[in-house]
Amino acid sequence: MQLSWIRPAKLVTRVLTEAASPRQMAWGFALGMLLGLVPKGNLTAVLLSVLLLSLNVNLAAGVLGTLLFSAVSPVFDPLTHRLGYWLLASHPLEPLWAGLSQVPLFPWTRLTNTVVLGNLVLGLWLFFPVWWGVHCAIRHGQPVLAERLRRFRAMQVLGGLETVARWRQP
């Protein structure tokens, strides 16, 4: 039995069964999506993580969004590279980037990297549609799904499977 699929399944179940408001879940997922899209190891990703953890949003939904979009983010790299390059190489924006480059700590944000900037812009552009989509989906589908998952004791089953998988792990 693989822990790698049990944990995400447990996380999804927890998101769906938690008594958080759809608003908090949507905010958490959208912020997680933004964090997941941006390549890690830079100040932008750190600031987004701090934002996700500091705001009163659903953390499980945030972690789910982060994991999901971290996995699919490299697929968008060719697109986001072109988007980032277009923004960075555009002549009218050159003074802005030159000015920002002189700001202390700005180099650590790596916003002059084509993929980092492209992914951030893509994430901001997708933010509201994702928030709205998740909000609608949770508001309409979550109570029914949560009820079914509770009836089948999904959390307990997954918890048991996780314990067995850990025990059998070499």
């Binding site: 009163n56 980032g84 180099p107 002059t112 990297n113």
Partner: protein, 444 residues
């Protein structure tokens, strides 16, 4: 909206970390620098005051004294102030850009009130085996010297000629010996033929005819051998002449090489500048050479960037910043030159790991003031395809003692004591050197 339970402890921790750095950075760094310096030099390193500014990435050391490990009652050097200002943004990008470096009030070999010797505390640097290092150096030096001598010897014409003769003459001798042996055996055969007793007159006639034929062939071969011997005789004379001429030319070449010695850097500066200024000029030239050695002609290879997502675009001054760059470095202080105490200032601008990317040449300015004045400016340009070095030296008011140029008793020129003005402007472009050297003295 804000999760204070998460944020508040982290803000407190951050503030604590900032406060710790604020209060402990200067004493901690001072202790670290003193201790590291002490371990590296095995002598006391003292810093009167240290001040750092993280916001401006500036480090300032006041009253730096480094003891001489070989003479504990003397300082290796001391400086009133050492200041280093780094570019914080370049540092965040992993590049080392020194905006300004200053060493003010530098003095060498000053006396100390307290001994600069340090007690061993167990984790010092490993002792250097000087004898082994010296032996290794000597072995390497002797090998290099041997190679150099062999190269020089191979260039001599007489050596080449002697080597060629040493191969040719034994072969010639062997050939002669072989032919002599053949002749000897043929003569033996002929004698045997003469001793034969014929059975009948017809056989006797046939025998005599064979003997006569053999004799004729023997005479021909002896004549050929004699001709070869005569040729060898003339060859020996030609070789002797060639060897004598080669020796003559080699001696002339060696003479020319030996005549270069008086024109060596030390000899020339000694002759032109006298004993007082010569060492100073050599020291200034040494500083310029030191800077020149540290400028790479070719930029270091960036290597394989490895897999990474996207590309980083650089803007503003960062776009043409090399891996390391010293925009300005300045030294000033006192210098002991013979019996004289001289004030000096040395500055270098634009030292970088990639001059082509930086696009500016390195400028070194050295100025010495005291009983005499010396100013030197060197521009080391590595931005083009060919390295170019321009050096200008100005040394007015040189007090010159009376000198004799040439050999007294033969042809010699006596120059009376007086005040001289030395000015030189040289340009080194690749392997060629050009320029002007002017030495003016009143009265001569």
């Amino acid at each position: 909206m804000i999760r204070w339970k998460y944020l508040a402890p982290r803000i407190v921790l951050l503030l604590l970390a900032v406060a710790t750095v604020w209060f402990l950075l200067n004493p901690g760094l001072k202790y670290l620098l003193e201790r590291t310096g002490r371990k590296l030099l095995s002598a006391k390193v003292e810093i009167a005051r240290l001040h750092t500014s993280l916001w401006h990435t500036r480090l300032q050391l006041d009253g730096l004294r480094v003891a001489d490990p070989k003479a504990p009652m003397k300082n290796l050097f001391e400086a009133d102030r050492v200041e280093l200002v780094l570019d914080p943004n370049a540092l965040l990008r992993g590049r080392y850009v020194v905006r300004r470096a200053q060493v003010r009030g530098l003095r060498l070999g000053t006396p100390r009130e307290v001994s600069g010797m340090v007690e061993e505390d167990g984790w010092g640097l490993p002792q250097v085996d000087a004898e082994r290092l010296a032996r290794q150096w000597f072995e390497r030096f002797s090998l290099l010297a041997k190679q150099q001598i062999e190269q020089e010897a191979n260039r001599l014409e007489s050596v080449r000629l002697v080597r060629e003769m040493a191969q040719r003459w034994p072969a010639e001798y062997e050939e002669l010996k072989r032919r002599a042996e053949i002749l000897k055996s043929k003569a033996e055969n002929l004698r045997e033929l003469c001793r034969l007793t014929p059975q009948n007159p017809a056989e006797a006639v046939e025998n005599y005819r064979r003997v006569i034929d053999e004799l004729n062939r023997l005479y021909d071969e002896i004549a050929q051998l004699r001709g070869q011997m005569e040729h060898i005789g003339t060859q020996i004379q030609r070789d002797q002449q060639a060897l004598a001429q080669a020796q003559q030319r080699d001696l002339q070449r060696i003479d020319r090489l030996l005549q270069m010695d008086p024109l060596s850097t030390e000899g020339l500066s000694q002759l032109l500048l006298g004993e007082e200024v010569g060492p100073l000029a050599r020291r200034v030239a040494g500083w310029i050479a030191w800077v020149q050695q540290r400028i790479p002609d070719e930029p270091a290879s960036a290597g394989n960037p490895g897999p990474q997502r996207g590309i980083d675009l650089l803007f503003g001054p960062a776009a043409n910043q090399p891996q390391w760059l010293v925009e300005s470095i300045l030294f000033d202080g006192q210098l002991q030159c013979g019996s004289q105490q001289l004030a000096f200032t040395a500055a270098a601008d634009g030292l970088s790991s990639d001059a082509r990317l930086y696009g500016k040449p390195v400028v070194v300015k050295v100025s010495v003031r005291g009983r005499m004045t010396l100013a030197a400016i060197a521009e080391l340009d590595r931005t083009g395809p060919e390295p170019v070095t321009r050096i200008t030296v100005n040394c007015p008011g040189l007090v010159q003692p009376e000198r004799v140029l040439g050999k007294p008793g033969q042809l010699a020129l006596t120059v009376s004591s007086g005040s001289a003005h030395l000015w030189a402007s040289l340009e080194l472009r690749g392997e060629t050197i050009s320029g002007q050297l002017l030495l003016q003295q009143q009265p001569v």
